[in-house]
Assembly symmetry: C2
Homo-oligomer: 472 residues x 2
């Protein structure tokens, strides 16, 4: 799972995306994919062609790449129309303080919105109240979640796969979102969970040694385990380690690698000819855990167990690719649940960076640091003076403290009161910040306490390939 | 280890080779490579630029690929000058019935000729007579063999690595050449041997299932074991299997993958954007066994044991790449011994094909089949009539039976007599064919007998990662 930096999209990259999307449509037709899938892909192709023409002034022509490699700052995601957001596994850019326009992203990516009806159904089949991440639209988009529920109702098994790119020892609050939600999913559905630590990816992308990347894996695994996962139901693995100890993983990697061309990864991920061959083939490594036969110890060699992947929406390109490949290698397509991005303290325009200590609250921060960071850096939707604030009220849509509370204040009524009071001006910015600080300090302290209990021995247990508490 | 088909080199591929060669020279300079290495690389670059200009009529300009992708039939190997041979891991083409011009290949590839002085030195340090493959120039080129001998003289360990791409169950005579020679090397130097079966490569390149590719590995391993390797000193591994059972192999694969760009593999192997990402990243998998830390069980985790690779010259591009990468990941460069190609029955213009049963003698052929194939298909250097033959003599330089005898008739004096008699016309074509048949029939029969003794249990022993009979 990647995060990092990148530039604007260039004419050549856009050209490659059009080419690749054409390849994809032909592949969909060859494998007689559902008409709806093909229609969505064609719409995306047309949108890409419009982008290409806007950027270069020329129509897209096969085998005739653009002469001038001009760059596009806006409208640059796959299927972009009139927005100005850019989202891929390495870059999230938006011009809006409210953050990325997620409804547009759903259209561009061709996923489905998580409607109230789906949330109701999840509550019905599990008999549990939906997690507030679902109720509040933090997990907002999905692919094939109804299929997972159909299977669940028929007592058919499925499993959950999520991951983390261990790029530093220090994880921040945003990194916890998929794991908090995954923990809830595991609890309510009672299914196996696999967690991929992409230390190979971090080695390939960053200026890191293999040893350092693996060390980050171990440190990050402790934070993940501290979220409360059940060791009998959870397998955490380092790519660097598991590739060399699984009889199923590499075979699935190479199956995916046979069915994805450089044109396709160029189109999906924007790779160029100067990228190393490790980056170019890496998407297959993130794809492989979507298939149950990558985990023969857990699934007893079965290859038909469907997979559900909760992840941030920026990881979707990997899994669009995976879903394209799956039927061609006779595996079920993974289902997905997509989350929004956790905003940086400085505002929702950008994704947080683990390398900027002031862009978020880290899981290692002291109560004092939390206090200082929130007070100093959290972008406020309040007015300039108390008088104006009392008169006009604050803007929750851009206020980072309020956004953070939607993630971490579980009490719906209290949160709604905060929203009303801040919007009306009854609640001042200082008071809102205090409330966030008082919410985060015990949460982080509890995490730190929980992490302390995670010994190296416990990490080893989680990371040992083995049968879990499920029979297949 | 690849063999297969490919087309002529196009302007775009040549353009990419120039670009890649430029990258390579910059890398050599950055890492302060020996001046001689840089000089050779620069010469190759200049030759490529000349080729490019000849083909396109234009000078090579960076960032300005050719508009018209014309194809070149001649002069198309890296650094080609005035020859008309083409050699890469998938294609060997020559217009000459004598076969490829190996002296030119040495210049193009930048390797060293195996001179008499080197052969004498091998005999001196091992105290054994040189194998007739060395004495007769069948192994004709090397890289750093003197370094290996220096080390050997100082009692420093090294190991041998060779391999096979298992593309079908039936191996032919030509496939035995590297193994016959490797067996001799192992015997005289008494060192560990690793044999890579690139079943993943065959799955990626051919219309094969993974299961089938692995099955070919097992069948081919039996033929290799039948050459007489010592199970206590030899480890044979399937990529598909070993990748998932070695703590060292994948780590080295990913190390190499980080240090090779798509531009480079395009230049070296002629990959295009339509190739699957598995092919593009595969060269790292053939590179990794060149490093001793890929075999922690054998070398006890040591990463400084030098590797010697006996292989056919068409595999050299993989190892040129490997040697470029090695110093950048702090590993010793592998040394190489290159063999000529084993000619097809129809003549030395082409490499044999395992898919054409009449192009060679297979290890499964019966005495009758050997008799029929040699009589029917072996290209003859004899004259059209007995009268002419007696008068003018035959041409050993193009006669396939004579060529085969240079490989399999160990008696130097007898071979020389055959050469003189056939050249003078004293020996008729039918007699020469008979001599070859009588040489091959017992050889193949002995191989078949030896292969019968190789049980599945024995294959399993060879293919189990384990400590060999050497202390590291």
């Amino acid at each position: 799972m990647a995060d990092g930096e990148s530039g604007p999209v260039t004419a050549r990259e856009l050209y490659n995306r059009v080419t690749s999307q054409g390849d994809r449509i032909r592949a969909l037709k060859t494998e007689k994919a559902p008409k709806n899938d093909i229609d969505v892909a064609v719409k995306q192709l047309l949108a890409l062609k419009v982008d290409y023409k806007n950027l270069t002034g020329q129509d897209y022509k096969p085998d005739s790449p653009p002469e001038h490699n001009v760059a596009m700052i806006q409208n640059c995601s796959p299927g972009a129309d009139d927005g100005d957001d850019f989202v891929d596994p390495w870059t999230v850019q938006t011009g809006s303080a409210k953050g990325v326009d997620y409804d547009k992203l759903i259209v561009r990516f061709g996923s489905q919105k998580i409607e109230k009806e789906l949330i109701d159904r999840i509550e019905r089949v599990t008999g549990k109240k939906a997690h507030h991440f679902l109720r509040r639209g933090i997990f907002f988009s999905h692919r094939d979640m109804h299929q997972i529920l159909d299977a669940y109702e028929k007592k058919k098994p499925f499993y959950i796969y999520t991951g983390r790119g261990p790029s530093s020892e220090a994880m921040h609050l945003g990194h916890l979102i998929p794991f908090i939600f995954t923990k809830w999913l595991q609890d309510v559905f009672d299914v196996p969970l696999v967690v991929q630590m992409t230390d190979d990816e971090k080695y390939l992308w960053k200026d890191l040694t293999l040893e350092k990347a693996y060390q980050y894996t171990i440190e990050n695994a402790k934070d993940i385990i501290a979220c409360g996962f059940d060791v009998d139901k959870t397998f955490i693995f380092s790519d660097l380690e598991y590739m060399g100890s699984s009889s199923g993983f590499y075979k699935n990697v190479v199956r995916v690698q046979k069915h994805v061309t450089f044109n396709q990864v160029k189109g999906i991920f924007g790779f160029t000819d100067s990228d190393c061959i490790g980056k170019i083939s890496f998407p297959a490594i993130q794809a492989a855990p979507s298939f149950s036969s990558s985990f023969p110890d857990i699934f007893n060699g079965r290859k038909d167990i469907q997979c559900l992947i909760p992840c941030a929406i920026d990881q979707d390109p990997y899994f669009r690719m995976t879903r394209d490949v799956a039927p061609r290698i006779n595996y079920p397509k993974p289902a997905l649940l997509h989350s929004t991005f956790f905003p940086a303290l400085q505002g929702a325009q950008t994704k947080m960076s683990a390398s900027d200590p002031n862009s978020s609250i880290f899981l290692t921060d002291t109560p004092k640091q939390i206090n200082a960071k929130v007070n100093k850096h959290a972008f406020s939707g309040g007015k300039d003076t108390i008088e104006e604030h009392r008169k006009y009220g604050g803007n929750c849509e851009v206020d980072v403290c309020y956004m953070y509370l939607t993630f971490f204040l579980e009490d719906d009524e209290k949160l709604e009161r905060v929203r009303q009071d801040y919007s009306s001006g009854a609640l001042l910015t200082g008071e809102l910040k205090k409330l966030l600080i008082e919410t985060l300090q015990p949460l982080i302290a509890a995490h730190q306490e929980s992490r302390k209990q995670v010994s190296d021995e416990v990490v080893k247990q989680f990371m040992t390939p083995r049968k879990l508490a499920f029979d297949f």
